[in-house]
């Protein structure tokens, strides 16, 4: 995997300029937002390099890439920086040829963007569940709220009668949702999908997608990362790297 490199922390030298013909993504192997961008890079076959950032020990130079040191950030060979995961994904779809992940039709494009609005509570709720469970707290209320969000998404799939959120083929909106669904199991909340069969079918279909497959994170490695992360171990981000 292109992103199997050590996370850079304080005291590291800033990387050089991005060579022409390549785009760089500043990332972290387990971050769901950066995962979106890596899915789009892969799906469109865009030549890229990944620089992982140690999010608990950020290099000083990284704040020249993003004012608050967040990931993901794209950097191209013209030194242009693009951040916010959704903006980065749209930029890649616009700037690079080949398969378009957003539809061409303006109304269908708008529909995908409206669907993204429906999704906005999911990242926060899944994270809160993870933190609660890791800290030994119950999270019944949070899980209930998450199930409600999943019901809303289930309704969309039911109404559309399609496998994917954009129609019968996978498209941008599916990739934008996917990272959080991939994490449900390792976060310990996969049972939140118990009452949403269409959404379960969707996750099964997603796991068949070559791009999703290629970037799937091994469950044991993810668990190893989570263990170290919740112990505040700064080496967490490199867990599972063999080099």
């Amino acid at each position: 995997m292109e992103d199997a490199t050590r996370a850079l922390g304080k005291g590291t030298l800033p990387p050089g300029p991005v060579p022409e013909g390549l785009i760089r993504v500043y990332s972290m192997r387990f971050c769901p937002y950066a995962h979106r961008t890596r899915l789009v890079l892969r799906a469109k076959g865009i030549r890229h390099e990944v620089i992982n950032i140690n999010l608990r020990n950020k290099p000083e130079w990284y704040y020249t890439k993003h004012p608050f040191g967040q990931i993901p950030v794209l950097e191209n060979s013209k030194c242009q920086l693009i951040y916010e995961s959704v903006i980065a994904c749209e930029y890649l779809d616009d700037a690079y040829p080949g398969r378009k992940l957003y539809p061409y039709d303006p109304y269908e494009r708008a529909r995908q963007k409206m669907l993204l609005e429906l999704f906005y509570k999911v990242p926060h709720l899944t994270k809160e569940c993870l933190v609660a469970l890791r800290c030994g707290r119950k999270c019944a209320d949070l899980k209930l709220a998450l199930r409600q969000e999943f019901c809303n998404l289930e309704e969309i799939l039911g109404y559309q009668n399609t496998i994917f959120f954009g129609g019968d083929c996978i498209s941008m909106i599916d990739y934008l949702f996917w990272p959080w669904f991939e994490r449900l199991d390792v976060y310990g909340i996969a049972d939140c999908l118990n009452h949403t069969p269409a959404l379960r079918l969707w996750t099964a279909a997603m796991k068949q997608d070559p791009t999703v497959c290629a970037l799937l994170i091994d469950k044991n490695i993810f668990l190893g990362f989570l263990n170290l992360y919740f112990q505040n171990n700064p080496d967490a981000f490199d867990y599972g790297l063999t080099c």
Partner: protein, 213 residues
Amino acid sequence: MRFCPFAQRTRLVLKAKGIRHEIININLKNKPEWFFKKNPFGLVPVLENSQGQLIYESAITCEYLDEEYPGKKLLPDDPYEKACQKMVFELFSKVPSLVTSFLRRQNEEDCYGLKEELWKELNKLEEVLTNKKTTFFGGNSLSMIDYLIWPWFEWLEVLELNDCVDHTPKLKLWMAAMREDPAVSALLTEPKVLRGFFNLYLQNSPEACDYGL
């Protein structure tokens, strides 16, 4: 709704692109039941076309209009410039709720705290104009991002928050330049009408949305 800043974004784009349209105002203090079929969230603005397609969320409606209709493109063609406009839009994202909080403030302490927060956010926008060295947020001509953020700046005068741009001279110049734009000036609301609306709206009056008619 005549005074909704989010809906004003859409009306600005409709005007700027010369798109023939009709307006149905919704009483936000007494929503018709049928409106929830147009937008399950019950919010304005919502676009509806002759194919029965519904589009909501103000920024999404604006982008849809720009893509669907011919004429002057408000969003740049260049992918990076387009991404820059969206990044500026994110930078602006805290302003609407701060301005609304200011409107709803209860006392003077709230006032100062909110003003400080607003200054902070406006400084971010000033920095963009400083770095770009252009009059508008998308370059030397007015474009989508300027229309998207304008409505709250129109409110600053009415809310007596003009001093919030005293330390942001480029933003002040931008505001003056915006008022020269035909679409912006065509949609300006008289300050006393806006004030009248605010008073009634804060009292939760169902007549608020029709103030001045």
